[in-house]
């Protein structure tokens, strides 16, 4: 059913270009701060490379003067150099403090913007997207994927810039000192490069597999934990332990490998650095002794005052190369994360070319006039493209479908020749097996899914011309799977119409027959609902959903198995409210329970996407067809 997100690292070039996009985005969000940060990082990197020059100068002075034992003579020179050193340090500190603070600010700001862009985009996606993507996968964009980007922006990128700059700067200074020694160093760098490629690559590969295995483990834990009671009832504990341990072992294997590679990288790189140090010292010693002519940018002759700072710089150099290689993992992971984040952001939004809008109107001299005030009278504002004229059609709730065919997937049609005429105030019921297409019809009316032009008309207007939000505002919806939000009962009801007063919400709850149980909740209407209303029974949740639709007060209502979980005794109590709710409204009812649809004006019996019978209850009973057999219990609805 659900296709799982592709987590394979196969598409490396896509991941790589996604990284580029992250960086461009970062700069476009922060056109001033981002370059400033880069500048500060570079500045502090360069500034921290220069001091070794002065350290060398100090040491040179010491070497020159220590035989003289004349501290007083050496002091001014040394203090002079040290003062330069201190001021360089100060500059570096200021730059560093500045950029680390900006980074903290910028990272979180960037993630916030990215999250919102993702969420805003997601709100515009067609339902099809949510039908075809597992919710766990959608969620992981907000958790795991964003987290990889947090690592990238707050740690990997600054490290990359800084270490990269230091490496380059130090390299230049080393050339200043000695070409021969620098060449030796280059050999070491080649070794380090291949180590990173091999060990770091292995680590990145296994970390991705670890993520996959973690996903599998999560799915499994989810299934077994939610089925825990069934497991108990069937004494199935040992079997589920065996299943779980299998997934657990797999996770262990990849996790062990991933972490092994990752923790090998550090020591290997560090000790290549150490070896390099020794080799440099030895080679330096040989140079000193043999008196080979030094080749360098500075033209300085070879001496101990060159060798000591050079060795220090070599340490700094290899340390930073090590640091660079440690970012490898984070960058590969962030590339994959970024690709997934962008795949959500780039998803094509629900198309909405509608230009007919729903507006408040007032009647003046028999003409409808648009107004800003809440008149509770609504009309469709219809600007005509042909002549630029604007007409107003009063909102009545007349819905017509003519010869509608529909397929969710091409070549797999689910609806054939559906024609439905619902006049304002009429109640139309759909009856049929699961998969017969009942819900699909209502999904077309509110344009959860789109069909070819002109076949569905609302108050005579082609629904494709109506702005989706306005169309849906005019259609009240109560679904079988009620979904409530983490908030108070009152706010959940108000969800139907955001500007409804408390009184209006309570009145709607009374109408739905929900007031009775709500007032008996610990905090009444102020009771917080959590976990999709887990603290309520399914029936109570449906009552709140009905109240939510009631407060919206729309001319058309779609009730999709709205009372399926309410027991028949309670339903009888609710029924009066429901009848009142349906009064003067066009209502589409889908129900399993035939008692619910009995008093509809017209009942449509659906079978495999076709309307096979239509008529009132009495007519259909008299026909003695499918409806009759359903009604007498001789036929099963699934």
């Amino acid at each position: 059913m659900h296709k799982t997100a592709n987590r394979s690292p196969s598409d490396l070039s896509k991941n790589f270009s996604s990284l580029g996009r992250v960086i461009r985005k970062l700069f476009s969000y922060y056109p001033r701060l981002a370059p400033l940060t880069v500048f500060c990082i570079l500045f502090s990197a360069v500034v921290s490379a220069i001091p070794s020059l002065f350290v060398q100068k100090v040491l040179a002075v010491v070497e020159e003067l220590f035989v003289s034992r004349d501290w007083e003579a050496a002091r001014p020179v040394i203090v002079h150099y040290l003062l330069i050193l201190v001021s360089l340090y100060l500059l570096s500190l200021i730059a560093m403090t500045l950029y680390t603070q900006i980074m903290a600010f910028m990272t979180q700001g960037f993630l916030d913007k990215l999250r919102r862009e993702m969420f805003d985009g997601m709100q515009e996606l067609p339902l099809r997207y949510f039908d075809t993507h597992a919710h766990g996968d959608i969620m992981s964009h907000y958790t795991n994927d964003i987290d990889t980007l947090r690592q990238l922006v707050s740690q990997a990128l600054p490290n990359l810039i800084q270490s990269g700059a230091i490496v380059l700067a130090v390299f230049a200074v080393m050339l200043w000192f000695s070409l021969w020694l620098t060449l030796v160093l280059v050999l070491g760098i080649v070794a380090m490069f291949y180590t990173t490629k091999f060990v770091g690559g292995g680590s990145a590969r296994y970390f991705m597999r670890q993520q996959e295995a973690t996903g599998t483990m999560e799915g499994m834990a989810q299934e077994l934990m939610s089925g825990q009671k069934v497991i108990k009832v069937f004494n199935h504990e040992q079997e589920s332990i065996a299943d779980f341990e299998k997934a657990n072992d797999e996770l262990f294997e990849v996790s062990r490998k991933a972490n092994t590679y990752a923790s090998l990288l550090g020591p290997i790189m560090a000790n290549i650095g150490n070896l390099l140090y020794v080799v440099l010292a030895l080679v330096g010693g040989v140079f000193l002794l043999s008196g080979i002519r030094n080749v360098s940018l500075s033209g300085l002759p070879f001496s101990i005052s060159i060798l000591v700072p050079f060795l220090n710089m070599a340490k700094q150099f290899t340390g930073n190369v090590n640091n660079l290689s440690q970012q490898f993992n984070a960058i590969v992971m962030a590339g994959a994360g970024a690709a997934r984040v962008f795949s959500l952001i780039d998803e094509a939004p629900e198309t909405d070319d509608g230009y007919v809008t729903l507006v408040n109107v007032r009647e003046e001299n028999g003409v409808l006039v648009e107004t800003e005030e809440r008149t509770r009278h609504w009309a469709w504002r219809h600007p005509h493209t042909a002549d630029g004229a604007v007409t107003y059609t009063p909102l009545r709730g007349d819905v017509r479908m003519v010869d509608v065919d529909f397929a969710y997937e091409e070549d797999k049609p689910v609806l054939f020749d559906i024609s439905v005429y619902a006049e304002p105030g009429q109640k139309v019921a759909f009856v049929g097996a699961t998969g017969a297409g009942k819900t699909t019809i209502t999904n077309l009316i509110n344009r959860f899914y789109d069909i070819a032009d002109g076949k569905i008309r609302y108050d005579g207007i082609n629904v494709n011309k109506i702005k989706k939000a306005d169309l849906r505002r005019s259609l009240g919806l109560v679904l079988q799977d009620t979904h409530l939000f983490t908030d108070t009962v009152l706010e959940n009801i108000r969800y139907g119409r955001l500007d409804a007063t408390d009184e209006e919400c309570i009145r709607a709850a009374r109408l739905a027959g929900a007031d009775d149980f709500i007032t008996r909740l610990p905090q009444g209407y102020q009771t917080e609902l959590v976990g999709d209303g887990a603290n309520l029974s399914q029936g109570q949740r449906q009552l709140i959903a009905i109240a939510r639709a009631a407060v919206a007060d729309p001319p058309v209502m779609i009730l999709d198995e709205a009372t399926s979980s309410i027991d028949t005794r309670t339903e009888a109590i609710v029924q009066r409210g429901m009848d009142k709710l349906m009064e003067k409204r066009t209502v589409f009812v889908i129900a399993h329970r035939l008692s619910t649809v009995r008093n509809a004006d017209v009942i449509m019996v659906l079978d495999h996407g076709r309307i096979i019978e239509r008529g009132s209850h009495a007519q259909l009973i008299a026909e003695k067809g499918t409806y009759y057999r359903l009604y007498t219990g001789a036929f099963e609805l699934e």
Partner: protein
């Protein structure tokens, strides 16, 4: 708490200890390296013959190789130990959960158990790995480096006396300030993710009410709130870097100044240039290890909450236990309730069921009717001891359910739960839950009884049809019938259907009951239903309200004596109307 968890280390104790030992060895070498480096530099500087320079050089090479071996090996064993510890911990956690009673499961709730099995364990694994690799390494590194610095540098080492307290105080300040900020951010983060999940789940409602702008605003506020708090926390932590750098610089300047002075005034007799270089290296090592210690501290505190949540599960004893010498044979399917009452928790103001006195003879069919929340499900869950009665006792086959071996009892009492569930696998593998050794003939027979055989055969893959997670690819009625077949395969003495045919049509429902009558005459059958027709022909019908049995009898007597029953019957049969 930590002790509870460390019990799960078991076979990974060895690699853990090995890691610690290897880390100590690596530290020793890492600390000695600058010492020999100074030696090398001095030899080079002194212009000693090449063969004498090679000596310390070779020692250094050997040391680097040893350090690589120790460090690498510690990496291998450390990864092995921490991944293994996580595996054992996860397995132990899961096994512990398997012993839990319904009460325990209710207490923890499924989503929270999932988090503990996944995210929490991940945090602990990370903290553990960091601890065994760095918790020994960093303090040791710190200690050795300080000692070596004093041995080598003498008076120069005084620099650290100034620098270390500055850094330590700074780090403590940062950690103390950042910790609560991070903790609050993480919980906000979790809440935001929950609300995104809620939004994704409820997408039809959001779109149906055209509430996209409202949801966007809600999310933007939550996201911005996190940005603010997270920025605050990160900015505090961001002070660590400059602080560390400041200390390094201070150290550098001090050593350079004092060192030069010492060398020059003594004419190079007390210390030399090589030692100055070594002192700088030690400075970096000392300050880095301090930094690491503070990182471990932060990491451990962050994972503290995860540890607490894991330990909580591990130390929770199952609230239902097997008796010491259990009965392993259920003689028959008779059931007695003797003045039974039950509360879901001690603090609950009201009993979920109370004052239940009832005798059900073996082989009888009992129907239970009543509105939602009247205690029907609670009552039947006391029979297979899914919960223990708070007052009175429940007897099966003449003995108290608490005297039976739990497995024996639950094998004899088969319940089809209201919230039933199929698991990912095939239809056949799901049915085998009832009896792992069932033959294909037995499976098909059970399915025929549950009126499932026909639709299963209509699937292209028949009994080997795959069931998706949550059983979403079969209809509600089909799922219910599969669950009934699964329960039948247990060949129970008592069969309980808790609203298990609500999505099945009346005719099939009747066929199922008819099958029970002819093929399971000796099995006691308890049927909870919304539909009167499902219970009308039962030997005994119970009407429940507010946790009590308010009326009992047969269809005939109840129609005469019970107003509620009459009301229900009238509503459902008015004009022949029925659930379809």
């Amino acid at each position: 708490m930590i002790k509870t968890m460390l019990k799960s280390l078991r076979e990974f104790r060895k690699p853990t200890i090995l890691t610690l030992v290897l880390m100590v060895a690596e530290v020793l070498i890492d600390v000695l390296i600058p010492f020999y480096t100074a030696d090398l530099v001095n030899s080079v500087k002194a212009g000693v013959p090449m063969n004498e320079v090679i000596g310390p050089g070779l020692i250094l090479v050997v040391m680097a190789i040893l350090s690589l071996i120790f460090g690498g090996a510690a990496g291998v064993t450390g990864a092995h130990a921490s991944a293994g510890f996580a595996r054992n911990l996860r397995g132990d956690l899961f096994k512990r959960i398997q012993t839990f009673s319904f009460e325990n499961i209710d207490h923890f709730s499924a989503p929270s158990l999932v988090t503990r099995l996944t995210t929490d364990i991940q945090y602990v694994q990370m903290a553990f790995m960091m601890s065994i690799r760095l918790a020994v390494r960093s303090p040791l590194m710190f200690l050795f480096s300080v000692i070596m610095a004093f041995i080598m540098g003498g008076a120069l080492a005084m620099a650290f006396v100034i620098v270390i307290p500055i850094l330590a105080l700074g780090l403590i300040f940062v950690a103390k300030k950042a910790m609560p900020a991070f903790r609050s951010v993480f919980s906000k983060y979790d809440r935001m993710n929950e609300s995104v999940e809620e939004n994704v789940r409820a997408m039809r409602v959001v779109k149906g009410f055209a509430r996209e702008p409202f949801e966007k605003k809600k999310f933007a506020a939550a996201s911005d709130n996190i940005r603010r708090d997270f920025t605050y926390a990160e900015r505090i932590v961001a002070l660590n870097g400059p602080l560390m750098q400041l200390c390094l610089y201070l150290n550098m300047v001090f050593i350079l100044y004092v060192g030069s002075r010492m060398i020059i005034s003594s004419g190079g007799s007390t210390i030399d240039v090589g030692q100055i270089a070594a002192m700088m290296t030690y400075g970096v090592q000392i300050l880095m290890s301090l930094m690491m210690i503070s990182m471990i501290y932060v990491m451990l505190t962050i994972s503290l909450e995860s540890m607490r949540r894991i330990a909580e599960v591990l130390s929770t004893e199952a609230s239902l236990k097997n008796p010491p010498s259990p009965l392993t044979e259920v003689p028959d399917g008779s059931i007695d309730f003797e003045n039974v009452s039950f509360k879901y928790s001690v603090d609950a103001p009201r009993c979920a069921v109370e004052g239940i006195n009832l005798h059900i003879p073996s082989g009888a069919t009992v129907g239970i009717l009543g509105g939602t929340g009247t205690g029907k499900s609670t009552l039947i869950q006391l029979i297979p001891r899914l919960y223990d009665a708070t007052g009175g006792r429940v007897l099966v086959g003449g003995s108290d359910v608490r005297d039976y071996d739990l497995k024996t009892l639950r094998d004899a009492v088969s319940v089809v739960l209201q919230k039933n569930m199929l698991f990912s696998g095939t239809i056949r593998s799901n049915l085998r839950w009832g009896d792992a050794d069932a033959t294909d003939a037995e499976i098909e027979e059970a399915c025929r009884l549950a009126q499932a055989d026909e639709f299963i055969r209509a699937f292209p893959d028949g009994y080997d049809t795959r069931i998706e997670q949550g059983g979403t690819n079969v209809s509600g009625g089909q799922r219910q019938r599969l669950c009934i077949a699964r329960a039948l395969l247990k060949k129970p003495k008592i069969l309980i259907l808790d609203d298990s045919t609500s999505a099945v049509d009346t005719r099939t429902d009747a066929l199922i009951r008819q099958g029970f009558r002819s093929y399971l005459p000796d099995t006691t059958k308890i049927i909870i239903a919304q539909r009167v027709a499902s219970v009308q022909d039962a030997d005994l019908i119970l009407i429940m309200e507010n946790g009590r049995i308010v009326a009992s009898g047969t269809d005939e007597t109840l129609l005469k004596d019970c107003a509620i029953y009459r009301e229900i019957v009238e509503q459902q049969t008015k004009g022949g109307g029925e659930d379809a």
